[in-house]
């Protein structure tokens, strides 16, 4: 056998195994793991952002609240009412859309 043929045969020796379902499964598992990690990091960043904003608001509020208790009470009541109104509207719209189907 000449050298060209030897090289062709050695290069042609199968390097990849037959199609392997375990490899495909491994790829999909790893992709899912990375997607979960990205989603977890995003949610962590979002929570940290909200917490930082809350803390930034709380600090001046602590100084202002003792001298303005009535205004604080009014504010809390208004916010609570708004929240209740929005929640009620959402529940009603969900029920109406279910009933319309």
């Amino acid at each position: 056998m000449d050298d060209e043929a030897r090289l062709a045969r050695a290069l042609g020796a199968p390097a990849a195994p037959k199609r392997d379902a375990a490899f495909t499964l491994g790829v999909m598992r790893e992709a899912e793991r990375q997607r979960f990690r990205r989603a977890w990091l995003l949610s962590l960043l979002r929570t940290a952002g909200v917490a930082a904003a809350g803390a930034a608001l709380a600090v001046p509020l602590m100084g202002w609240a003792p001298g303005n208790l009535a205004a604080l009470q009014n504010g809390l009541l208004t916010a609570g009412s708004l929240l209740a109104l929005v929640s009620f509207a959402r529940i009603m719209s969900q029920r109406l859309s279910i009933a319309a189907r």
């Binding site: 050298d3 030897r6 045969r9 050695a10 390097a15 990849a16 490899f23 790893e30």
Partner: protein, 176 residues
């Protein structure tokens, strides 16, 4: 897989259909793994690179423009991952070939001593040259496809293949 079927699967995978992407992995894994086994020498490392290439491909699928085949695009991603890893870890360690893998492949028609000599000679080629040889002579990619995968000019790829082939031949003859 027909180009039409491949395009359909790519479009579905872009919309987040994991089954479509799994079908693409299934269809192209042999060529991609084969290339990295020839390029990296170490078979377990090669499969890790191939896996990372496919995972990266899925996360960047929106950037795939279809100028090359999906198979070539994934090989290109994996090649850059492998090359960067080699640069980071030093070349000496990665040239340690997986001789057990060569021995295990009992069905191959080529004599074992030729395959060992070839694996040694491949390991001694520069990265770009080894990749060009593995793609064009090992996996049957065209020079144009290899140029797209390796991000090299076509003439450079042709010269890498010719020179690499000469070096492998001289090693098989026992000239070195």
């Amino acid at each position: 897989m027909s180009p039409h079927e491949e395009a359909r699967l790519i479009a579905a995978a872009r919309r987040g259909d994991s089954r479509a992407f799994a079908a693409l992995v299934d269809a192209h894994q042999q060529a991609v793994r084969g290339f990295f086994r020839r390029f990296a020498g170490h078979w377990a490392e090669a499969d890790d690179i191939a896996q990372e290439a496919f995972v990266t491909a899925w996360s960047k699928l929106s950037r795939f423009e279809g100028r090359s085949s999906f198979r070539s695009w994934v090989c290109g991603i994996g090649y850059r991952i492998a090359r960067d890893a080699r640069r980071a870890h030093g070349r000496g360690a990665v040239r340690d070939n997986d001789w057990a893998s060569v021995h295990d492949d009992r069905d191959a028609a080529a004599p074992l001593e030729d395959r060992i000599a070839l694996a040694k000679a491949m390991a001694e080629l520069p990265d770009d040259q080894r990749a060009a040889v593995a793609l064009c002579l090992g996996e049957g990619f065209s020079h144009t496809e290899a140029a797209a995968i390796l991000a090299l000019p076509l003439g450079t790829v042709k010269s890498h293949v010719t020179r690499g082939r000469e070096r492998l031949l001289s090693r098989l003859r026992g000239d070195d």
